[in-house]
Every structure is written in C-alpha cells, then in structure tokens.
C-alpha cells in the first residue's frame, strides 16, 4: 500500500517513455547550444591560467634563489682579500648600456604580447626578434665585462667578493641566456604553427620570465654596481 506521493510520482516518471525521450532531446539541445561551447572555453581558460600560476610559482622560487645570492653578495662584498674593490672594476657607462638593453627588451617583449593579443602573428615574431637582439646585446656586454675582469686577474677565484659577484651576476646572465633560447624556440613555434592556444600560453610565460629577469637586474645594478661605486 504505497500512498506516499513521492514514490507515486517517481514511479509514474519512469513508466512514461515520452518523458525520457524529451529529456534526451533536451540534453542533446544543450550539448549543441552555445552554453556547451562556453563551458569548453571556460575549461580551456582554467587550464591556461593554472599553467600560468604554476609558472608564476616557479618564478617566485627563482626569486628566493636570487635572494640567497643577493644576501651572500651583500655579506661578502667587503671581503676583497687585498684585491681590487668594486669601484675600481665596474664601468658604470657600460652597466647603464646593459640596463638600457634589458629595459628596452622588456618593453618590446610587452609589444610582442600586445601583438599576440591582437592576433598579429608576424608582428609578434618581429617584436620577439627585436627583444632577442636586445637580450643578445646585454649578454655580449656582460661576457665582455667578465672576460676583461678575468684577464686583469680579477676572476672569481681571487676573493670572496669576486666569487659572490660572479655567482650572482652570472646566474642572472645564465637565466637571460635560457630566456634567449626559450625566445628562439617560441619564434620558430609561432612561425610554424601560428598563434595556437598552446603557443599563446607559452608566450605569456616567456614574457613573465623576461620581465622577471629585468626585475632581478634592477636589484643587481642597484646593489652591486651603483652601491659598489657609491661607497
């Protein structure tokens, strides 16, 4: 004796074949509607922003690595072991040129991001190429500076100050070199496959990486070069 209205209701639903057909139609309609497409886009967007957050957390951990190197340099820069001090080694006009190379490259990297957002493939690759050349200019000036210092006997083995200097500045230089490789790969990928969603996500990460390196360089030229000469 089932007088419960809910049970009666459920029973009548299951027994009504027309309702099931109607529900299936409705589901099919929903799948084909714009809602479903929007859902897919949202899903895709979530994946891209998760990848970006992951890369961001890598950048933050890299920041901690650099903070250790900055702290080491700050503690050891007075330990010159009778060797040359920073003020005698650093050439500020050269450092200013390096800084400008990196700053302009940060700007052109931003222009590449804007070109990407505007779906202009060739402009994206073009601005990346300009960024690449500016980065290359930075690296070649830095290598020249290192070679000069080693040639006059002020290599990393000379004093605690120079060891920490080379470790800090060369770690940044290595990052920039990695960024250049990343950039070259992305230029080839965009030329080959166009601005696909995968390439877009990677280009966003590349620009974050490049801007991040410029921020580290602000710390380097302020703490190492400017403070070293001002002392």
């Amino acid at each position: 004796m089932s007088s419960d209205p809910m049970v009666m209701h459920r029973g009548s639903l299951a027994l009504k074949p027309g309702y099931v057909d109607h529900a299936a139609d409705a589901l099919r309609d929903l799948r084909q509607s714009g809602d479903a497409v929007d859902f897919q886009l949202d899903h895709h967007h979530d994946a891209a922003s998760t990848i970006q957050l992951g890369f961001w957390i890598y950048l933050m951990s890299d920041c901690l690595l650099f903070s250790g190197l900055f702290a080491t340099y700050a503690l050891l820069n007075s330990h010159t072991a009778g060797g040359p001090i920073g003020a005698r080694l650093f050439d500020l006009p050269d450092v200013l040129t390096e800084t400008m190379f990196l700053l302009f490259s940060s700007f052109t990297c931003g222009l590449a991001t804007l070109a990407m957002n505007a779906d202009r493939r060739n402009a994206t690759v073009g601005w990346l190429a300009v960024t690449f050349l500016l980065g290359l200019g930075f690296i070649s000036l830095e290598v020249r500076e290192f070679a000069h210092m080693v040639s006059i006997g002020a290599g990393p083995d000379h004093s605690a100050f120079l060891s920490s200097f080379f470790t800090l500045v060369a770690t940044h230089g290595l990052h920039v070199t990695c960024g250049l490789v990343f950039m070259a790969v992305m230029m080839a990928a965009v030329l080959k496959n166009g601005l696909t969603s995968t390439n877009r996500a990677r280009l966003v990460n590349l620009s974050l990486f490049w801007h991040f390196l410029d921020i580290i360089w602000v710390g380097v030229f302020s703490l190492v070069y400017l403070s070293g000469v001002a002392h």
Binding site: D38, S67, T72, L103, G110, L114, N117, G219, L223, L226
Partner: protein, 129 residues
C-alpha cells in the same frame, strides 16, 4: 589618444576569443607608462652616482630600486588585486616576506657576529693576503 585607440583596437579580436579575460589584459598604455617610469627611475640613481653626488647613499639607491621593482610588477607583470590574480598576488607577497627575511636576517645576524668578534679581526682579514 593614438596609443589608447591602438590598444583598444588591439584587444577587439582577442576579446572575441577569450571573453571576459580581455577586459583585464595588458594595454599599450600600461607598457608605455611603465617603460617611461622605469627609464626615469634608472637614470636618476645612475646620474647621482656617476656625478659623484654625496646624496647617492645606499639607502637612496635601494629606494629607487624598490620603486622601480614596484613599477615593473604593476605595469609589466600586471599583478593586481583582481579575483583571477588572487593566487599570483598571494605567492608574490609570500615571496616578498621570504626575501625580506633572507636578506634582512642574513645581514642582521652577520653584523652582530662581526660585532662579537675579537676587536680588529675584521681589519686583519683584509690585510692577511
């Protein structure tokens, strides 16, 4: 004016594909303003040090560096307080605290170690080699 128009034009196709995201995307104006501020905040400390002004103290140089880092974070990395940037901002703030502890803590501890060393030991270190 021209800059703003280009920025808007540049975003129209992007918006068509990515919907709401484009509204928070970077604009050309942001990059231009950030670039100009960064140039100014670079040239001032360089000029002060290269002209051997007495005012070029490490504290002042550090101040310009902090200001420029802030400009880079806001105008180039586009970190803001919006909902979708919440975790990026949290990670950044956490990192800032850690960097402060590592840098400040190291300098503080080592400074006190030097103070507690035998008088003159620091000067000897310099003369030893």
């Amino acid at each position: 004016m021209n800059v703003a128009n280009e920025a808007v034009a540049g975003h129209a196709p992007h918006g068509a594909y990515h919907g709401a995201h484009a509204a928070h995307g970077p604009t050309q104006k942001q990059y231009v303003v950030g670039f100009a501020l960064a140039i100014i905040l670079t040239l001032i400390p360089f000029t002060l040090v290269m002209s051997h002004t007495v005012a070029a103290t490490p504290v002042l140089i550090a101040g310009f560096a902090l200001a420029q880092i802030l400009v880079h974070v806001v105008y180039f990395l586009h970190v803001n307080t919006s909902e979708e940037q919440r975790w990026n901002l949290m990670a950044l703030l956490y990192t800032a605290v850690m960097v402060f502890i590592v840098l400040g803590g190291s300098l503080w501890i080592m400074h006190h170690l030097y103070l507690n060393m035998v008088p003159g030991a620091m000067h000897m270190h310099g003369r030893m080699s």
